[in-house]
Symmetry: C2
Subunit: 163 residues, 2 copies
DNA sequence: CGTCATTTAGTTGTGCGCAATTTAATTGTG
DNA sequence: CACAATTAAATTGCGCACAACTAAATGACG
């Protein structure tokens, strides 16, 4: 361990920096997407769902959730809105009646053409080089992995091997 | 311009990576904070507000919002919950009756002692060196600045050209 | 075969984020 | 002083994220 000695007091301020910065960046992204996606009639999470469907084709709700780290509590109402908008269809799977398969309608498929313009506008807005974006993405993914792992270890007991 | 020629098609996938990674990291952070903050009875946004108050003392709602990039639509109900929890007090300013000053109660001030342990647990969970966290923070802040600026320029017109 | 655990969606409830609107106080201007 | 413009909070409405729970279908096992 290369733990640099830092007083809790200082740490509390450092902490605010990183968690807050990440939060702010995420919301700033969201704000820009809101503007750009408005003309497509999509919210940012809806756009993410459409990206998944455009890339992978028809998928059960479960699979969509795995791609986006979202559960049915979030996806069910969201997909219902996409269905109302005429972009997707939902049908019970014949093979497994528990599963609901989400598929693109013609309109949903067609929307992809208009969505192709979105990423360039977003990327341009960041002012970052592609390489830097990629580097940032790598670090963030590593961070996410570490945080998820930690969240699983935190709740049960404060030490190794209780219960 | 060092624009690497990339097809819109590829771009659409790259795009999913960066926006999605940031979103995922933010939610992963949120999840870990949820676990760690549970014993303090705070949500993550409430924790951010407390951090601001601990650092700056009593502040009008407006100032709290400036520190956190949040407006009264978010802060009003949040502060009401903190008030109900007995952590803060809200009083109309005598000098400017429009303004509501948010102040810590004794209980709110005391909570800081217990909160001092939080950052270390979070930082440990990331598995990142302090230097790397700081580097990441810097990049994210730059990103946020660029995105905010872009969001202000986007809405008026689609720019030179299209439509 | 029947029973029970697991899996998959959906529902409910709470809280956040933000746009749009409302209300009240303050400031600026003639 | 009167009156319009601005400012600060609060409220309303919508959508997302997540925990907790329900309902229905499937799979495992004696």
């Amino acid at each position: 361990m290369t733990t640099t000695p830092v007083r809790d007091d200082d740490f509390l301020r450092l902490d605010q920096q990183i968690c807050f910065s990440l939060n702010a960046a995420s919301r700033a992204f969201n704000g820009l997407y809101r503007v750009v996606l408005k003309e497509l009639g999509l919210t940012y999470p809806q756009y993410l769902v459409m990206l998944v469907l455009w890339e992978h084709g028809d998928l059960p709700v479960k699979k969509v959730g795995e791609h986006l780290r979202l559960d049915s509590g979030t996806l069910s109402p969201l997909l219902k809105r996409l269905e109302t908008a005429g972009l997707v269809r939902r049908e019970r799977s014949a093979l497994d009646e528990r599963s609901v398969v989400v598929g693109l309608t013609g309109e949903g498929t067609a929307l992809r053409e208009r969505a192709l313009r979105v990423p360039r506008r977003i990327a341009a807005a960041t002012g970052f080089e592609l390489a830097e974006i990629d580097d940032l993405r790598t670090r963030l993914d590593r961070l996410t992995g570490a945080l998820d792992a930690a969240a699983l270890e935190e709740p049960p007991g404060p030490g190794p091997g209780s219960e």
